[in-house]
């Protein structure tokens, strides 16, 4: 009895080897791919929808204002996790169809990203001085030309650093979809740790460190790109 325990102890391989045991590393990369699939689809949908929502938020009539403020407040007040539960469990209960965890994740993060992006767009347009528009008009430019040549180029320059920040936030926050059963990078890591509890009792430190670096490898270039663009397009 003692022998078995002792020998098991003696045979334990160094803890970092867990990373390449079996197909663990490929599994982690696949998990990262799932994370990115959810977050990047949501990002790609949020950016154009957010621009439209931002323009909608600039409307002055009370109905449009009411709708846009209600929407923004709803998304901001609700923790993203509650939104995920609401969509994932709620659609089955109320609408009577089952939405997969990944689809729920994409839906929720698109709703979230659209609201946040919309608010950024609204603020960016609002921060352009009134005189820019007026000097455009006094030069005889049409409203469309004023938007095309004066307002939009300046808005885009202001938006780039802000939207880059939003994109990395979205990538990081998608880790919440673990809780509606999506096996992404974090969940895959937990599975590896659990499956190797006896052979590698200290696996968690290695796996979580690797996951940290995986997130870093994805988010760091994006934020560097943002910094680069910000410098290059500086007004």
């Amino acid at each position: 009895m003692f022998n078995i325990l002792l020998s098991a102890n003696a045979e334990k391989p160094p803890v970092y080897t867990i990373l390449f045991a079996g197909n663990n590393f490929q599994r982690l990369l696949w998990g990262l791919f799932v994370t990115l699939r959810v977050s990047l689809i949501a990002v790609l949908l949020s950016l154009p929808l957010g621009i439209l929502f931002g323009l909608f938020m600039r409307r002055k009539d009370p109905i449009s204002r009411g709708i846009s403020q209600l929407y923004l407040a709803f998304i901001r007040i609700m923790p993203p996790l509650v939104l995920l539960f609401l969509v994932y469990f709620g659609t089955a209960r109320i609408a009577g169809f089952h939405l997969s965890g990944e689809a729920s994740g994409i839906l929720v993060f698109t709703l979230w990203g659209t609201a946040e992006m919309g608010d950024l767009v609204r603020a960016a347009i609002g921060s352009i001085p009134r005189h820019q528009k007026e000097s455009g008009r006094s030069l005889g430019l049409s409203s469309w030309q004023i938007y095309r040549y004066i307002i939009i180029p300046q808005t885009v320059r202001r938006l780039i650093p802000l939207s880059i920040n939003l994109i990395t936030r979205m990538i990081k926050t998608t880790s919440l979809i673990v809780l509606i059963g999506v096996v992404e990078v974090l969940k895959t890591g937990q599975q590896i740790i659990d499956a190797n509890r006896f052979q590698y009792p200290k696996a968690s430190i290695v796996i979580y460190t690797v996951i940290f670096f995986l997130y870093f490898i994805v988010c760091f270039p994006i934020s560097q790109l943002g910094k680069y663009l910000e410098k290059k397009l500086k007004v």
């Binding site: 001085p129 000097s135 006094s138 030069l139 005889g140 030309q145 040549y149 300046q154 007004v235």
Partner: protein, 258 residues
């Protein structure tokens, strides 16, 4: 006997303007500007002189009256009015160059996009104008690299690129450091010598006196006095104008009672 009729370029009849809360800003304003004339609008702040320029430019809605440029309506959103307004140029108090474009691009945007002019031809004119305001070396600079006075000179020639029949100047030196006021006003003086019709709002009294063919004094949204610059600055007709002008003269009290 032949009657000499000087052509009226701008005619304003019974202009009424009030803000949304119904407080009137301009009341029953009528004035006309002849071709080649320089009219200076003076008055205490809040008297409506800037608003008057903005209404002429079509930046403010009006509640009544007419504004005609060479007899054609320039009020409202109609395509005709917008086309006619292209004959107006305006320079504002704040530096309003487009910050994301180089100086040359600032000058070329409207001539190319609004008038559909050829780039080479517009570039040539832009360079001539830049030379005239001594900024030839700045054509590839961005507005943020220029001083306030330099920006205003570019703003003026950016308007001139459109060959306006009437230029509106809305306190173009009010935001400038004192030592830069001169370089901008010299450009405006030069334009008046060349016969450009101008309507100028300013707080620079010395400049007003030198540049004006006619002075209009506004208060409370009304034209209180119309006069030649000589008379206006020597002995204005109205008491209000007298009080106004006193704000600009200083009396030394240091040696009183010595």
């Amino acid at each position: 006997m032949e009657e000499i009729v000087q052509e009226q370029l701008l005619e304003i009849k019974d202009l009424e303007k009030s803000y949304e809360d119904d407080s009137p800003v301009l009341k029953d304003i009528s004035l006309s500007v002849k071709k080649g004339e320089v009219v200076v609008l003076l008055g205490p702040s809040g008297c409506g002189k800037s608003t008057l320029l903005r209404t002429i430019m079509g930046l403010e809605r009006i509640q009544g009256g007419e504004i005609l440029l060479e007899g054609k309506n320039i009020v409202g959103k109609s395509e005709e009015a917008r086309k006619e307004r292209q004959n107006l140029g305006m320079v504002f108090q704040s530096y309003d160059l487009f910050p994301h474009m180089s100086i040359l691009e600032n000058l070329l945007l409207a001539p190319m996009k609004v008038q559909g002019r050829k780039r080479e031809e517009a570039v040539q004119e832009a360079r001539e104008l830049l030379a005239r305001v001594h900024l030839s070396d700045k054509e590839n600079a961005y507005p943020s690299m220029l001083s306030g006075g330099q920006k205003q000179r570019v703003a003026i020639i950016r308007s001139l690129m459109m060959h306006p029949k009437l230029m509106l100047f809305d306190e173009v030196t009010a935001a400038l450091d004192p030592e830069m006021v001169r370089e901008v006003l010299d450009v405006v003086m030069e334009l008046s010598e060349q016969g450009l019709t101008m309507l100028i709002v300013t707080h620079e009294m010395g400049f007003a006196k030198a540049v004006a063919d006619r002075v209009l004094f506004l208060e409370g949204g009304k034209i209180l006095e119309e006069n030649t610059p000589e008379n206006f600055f020597q002995k204005p007709d109205t008491e209000r104008a007298q009080q106004f002008l006193q704000n600009f003269s200083y009396v030394s009290h240091r040696h009183v009672g010595r």
